[in-house]
């Protein structure tokens, strides 16, 4: 392990890397096939670099590379990402409830405590406020903790630590400290989990200056985002979804990292831009099948980066289609959709042929009863209707 983590070294304010580790030696995959860094990865098998590696439904990204890849479930992809980063950098550690011996309540950290020990995969008591504070303190010295909220909703208890310390310390210290934490966990509406366990924290966290927020939706982008988040010098909140952990996909064997600020083009189209993220992506794609049968050609973009928005990709799409539909799981008031609507209106007003339509969840606590819960979130039928109305 490195002898010190920056306490005694007179590191420059923006010291990004420890002297022992070399700069990132991976291409960062961008959806427009433009890698950010082109240094070839030395530590793993040096296969062909997949540059056009977007997890589009029709296209198998791995087919572009020489190896066929391997199939994983989403939680396994997250674990692979975590494990690779822990292997690569001894400063990466995990904090959370039941992440160690239990293996994680969604098995994301299964086996890691056996491999890396109890200090590196730390089972914390049920004290979100303080273990997130601890992660921030550890990050100030140079460690790179990945903190799990067993359910994102529990992180409300740690709001102060996330907002003031995680988000703002880099600024209020004049750049002296970076806080390279990753805060991750499942959120969103599940299967009748009740109001308190079905929250969408992205609405509450989106105003915090200094953090980045990303939402994964496929095994491919889950692994890539996990790795990118761990390597980022900024605090990143990685939103996973309770219902997406068992999605299966074939992902490349080679190491890859996905850009934190880029949106993903899921389905190119001409008639309407549908912006979505996380679980709603699947509702949108289901609606897209119906729409295609009816003769529409929707362009579906998974925005992935919730803070900051990838206005470039979104903008290019709007300039093509001139109509926007946002489908989100946040509530109508103060959600990601609300901010995205404002951002698009501000930047691309001239390109819009119609007002932006935003489909969100209802402004209610998520009820327990299955029928009510179904109506709380946006269903594919509503998406089809909305597109039909928009494209009239």
């Amino acid at each position: 392990m490195a002898a010190s983590f920056g306490v005694s070294s007179a590191a420059a304010a923006n010291a990004v890397k420890s002297p022992a580790l070399s700069p990132p030696s991976l291409p960062v995959i961008r959806s427009e096939a433009r890698p950010i860094s082109c240094r070839v990865n030395k530590s793993r098998k040096a296969g062909k670099i997949t540059t056009k590696a977007v997890a589009a439904q029709a296209e198998n990204p791995a087919s572009a590379a020489s190896k066929p890849g391997h199939e994983v479930l989403l939680f396994e992809a997250l674990r692979e990402g975590l494990e690779e980063e822990m292997e690569r950098d001894p400063r990466v550690c995990i904090f959370g409830e039941d992440v160690g011996h239990y293996g994680g309540s969604y098995k994301v950290s299964k086996g890691l405590a056996d491999k890396y020990g109890d200090l590196r995969v730390l089972d914390t008591p049920i004290a979100e406020n303080s273990f997130i504070g601890m992660a921030v303190g550890a990050a100030m010295t140079g460690l790179r903790p990945v903190v799990e909220g067993m359910n994102m909703g529990f992180l409300l208890l740690a709001f102060n630590q996330i907002s003031d310390n995680c988000g703002m310390l880099h600024y209020t210290s004049g750049g002296q400290f970076t806080i390279p934490t990753v805060i991750r966990g499942p959120g969103g509406v599940g299967r009748q989990l009740g109001a308190e366990h079905s929250q969408r924290l992205e609405s509450y966290f989106q105003s915090i200056p200094g953090i980045q927020m990303v939402a994964c939706s496929t095994p491919y982008n889950a692994k890539g985002l996990m790795k990118a988040a761990i390597r980022s010098e900024n605090p990143v909140v990685l939103f996973e979804h309770v219902l997406l952990y068992n999605l299966k996909e074939r992902i490349p064997d080679e190491e890859y990292v996905v850009s934190l600020e880029e949106a993903e083009m899921v389905r190119p189209g001409e008639h309407v831009t549908i912006l979505t993220y996380s679980r709603m992506r699947y509702h949108v794609m289901q609606a897209a099948k119906t729409l295609v049968n009816k003769g529409y050609d929707p362009e579906v973009i998974d925005i992935r980066s919730l803070k900051p928005f990838d206005l470039y990709t979104i903008g290019n799409s709007i300039k093509k289609t001139h109509k926007v539909l946002i489908v989100e799981e946040c509530m109508r008031t103060g959600g990601i959709g609300a901010s995205l609507t404002a951002a698009i209106n501000e930047n691309f007003n001239d390109y819009l042929d119609a007002p932006i339509v935003c489909l969100s969840s209802q402004d209610v606590p998520t009820p327990y009863a299955g029928t009510l819960e179904e109506v709380t979130v946006v269903q594919p039928g509503q998406i089809v209707t909305a597109v039909e109305q928009l494209c009239r």
Binding site: A3, A127, S130, P209, K307, A343
Partner: protein
């Protein structure tokens, strides 16, 4: 440490060699003096250390100078605030200097200190300069946080000073995180997480204490008990104001926080304990002369007699002055000269800080994010690089 040695050297230079010889100090300035602390230590679940503290003339003179400097800085900050050069919140530390100075004497720069918002003097102790402090208070770009933090956000990474936090109690879990990192990297150093009697009632403190004890983290929780949580006296806020006992399974020590030597002894003891056995709580019985902050007169919830009583009987600088005079380490006049020097230093630093410009408008957006892997945030047209706020 280097700064203290430099200052001590400067002090020694200013005293003519003849006066040392005249007073028959054949021994060098590093000779040892043993002093008894004013009060014995009280322990909770632990045997307290001895009352006899080893010190040296150099150390005592350094204590005097450092505390005089800190006192002067805080008084000057008071005037600057009234002159509206310092705005917002300004929490002054005068009266509590012994805690900071005694702690520094017991530790090194690899050990970490984290505290709340009454952080100006601790910043100085960790190697911060007067210029950085005053410039930060006045919001200038030469401040330690480039003018963007303010009074409550002083940090010094190279000095192991982790701030500077505005939210009461939130720094204690951070302190445990620092201790965790020290344990992780096995570098034989400890963390002092400081908080006040008001913060002692925060839940996150007990959460952090539980975790520190569970994992044997080298964390020392220091409660600077100045007996008032802003306007509320400790007995009105805490069912049990014996803060050193509140750790229950974690041992505690009650220390006279106005006696720099007692603080030094306690911190040394605590460091040894923490490295071997995990967390320990130190309660420093101290007092602040000013109100909670500059917007609090400090007299509505306590009497002026109380304040002047403490100043007469327990003032930390006076205690060291008496010690120095009793052991013939310097004359009255020399000490007065030191105070004048210190005053001059502070005035010069203020003048220099006043010259420092305000931060550039572009600084509004710098340091929100750090550059790292792929973090380039673009505007809508990717022509200018800026962080995009949705």
């Amino acid at each position: 440490m280097a700064q203290l040695i430099r200052r001590a050297a400067a002090l020694n230079k200013s005293l003519p060699a003849a006066s040392f010889a005249a007073r028959g100090l054949a021994t060098a300035s590093t000779s040892s003096i043993t002093v008894e602390t004013s009060l014995p230590f009280t322990g909770h679940n632990i045997d307290p250390p001895s009352r006899s503290v080893e010190t040296s003339p150099q150390e005592l003179l350094t204590f005097f100078r450092d505390m005089a400097l800190m006192r002067r800085m805080e008084i000057a900050a008071d005037s600057l605030y009234k002159a509206k050069l310092i705005r917002g919140f300004c929490h002054l530390y005068d009266g509590q200097e012994a805690v900071c100075v005694g702690m520094e004497a017991a530790i090194n720069r690899k050990d970490c200190i984290i505290t709340a918002y009454r952080d100006h003097c601790i910043f100085l102790g960790r190697g911060g300069t007067l210029l950085e402090a005053f410039a930060e208070l006045m919001g200038r770009k030469d401040g330690c946080s480039k003018g963007k933090g303010g009074s409550m956000h002083f940090y010094k990474k190279e000095g192991g000073f982790y701030g500077g936090h505005g939210i009461v109690g939130a720094q204690v879990p951070l302190g445990c995180g620092l201790a965790f990192a020290q344990k992780y990297s096995k570098d034989e150093s400890v963390t002092f997480a400081m908080y006040g009697d008001g913060a002692a009632n925060q839940g996150q403190l007990f959460e952090a204490l539980n975790m520190a004890a569970l994992w044997d983290l080298p964390a020392i929780l220091v409660c600077e008990n100045n007996h008032y949580g802003m306007g509320t006296a400790e007995w009105r806020a805490a069912k049990s104001p014996a803060y050193y006992k509140r750790g229950d399974y974690v041992p505690g020590l009650k220390v006279d926080g106005m006696d720099a030597l007692a603080v030094k002894q306690a911190c040394k003891f605590a460091k040894e304990h923490a490295l071997k056995n995990g967390p320990i709580i130190l309660e420093m019985d101290t007092y602040r002369y000013h109100g909670h902050s500059m917007s609090d007169p400090g007299s509505t919830y306590r009497t002026r007699d109380e304040i002047s009583g403490v100043r007469q009987e327990r003032d930390p600088i006076e205690r060291i002055r008496k010690l120095v005079l009793a052991h013939d380490l310097a004359t009255e006049k020399e000490l007065k000269d030191t105070e004048k020097e210190v005053r001059k230093e502070v005035d010069e630093a203020i003048a220099q800080a006043k010259e420092s410009p305000m931060p550039d408008p572009s600084e509004l957006f710098s340091n929100v994010y750090a550059k790292g892997l792929g973090t380039e945030s673009f505007g809508a047209d990717r022509k200018e690089v800026r962080t995009v706020l949705p």
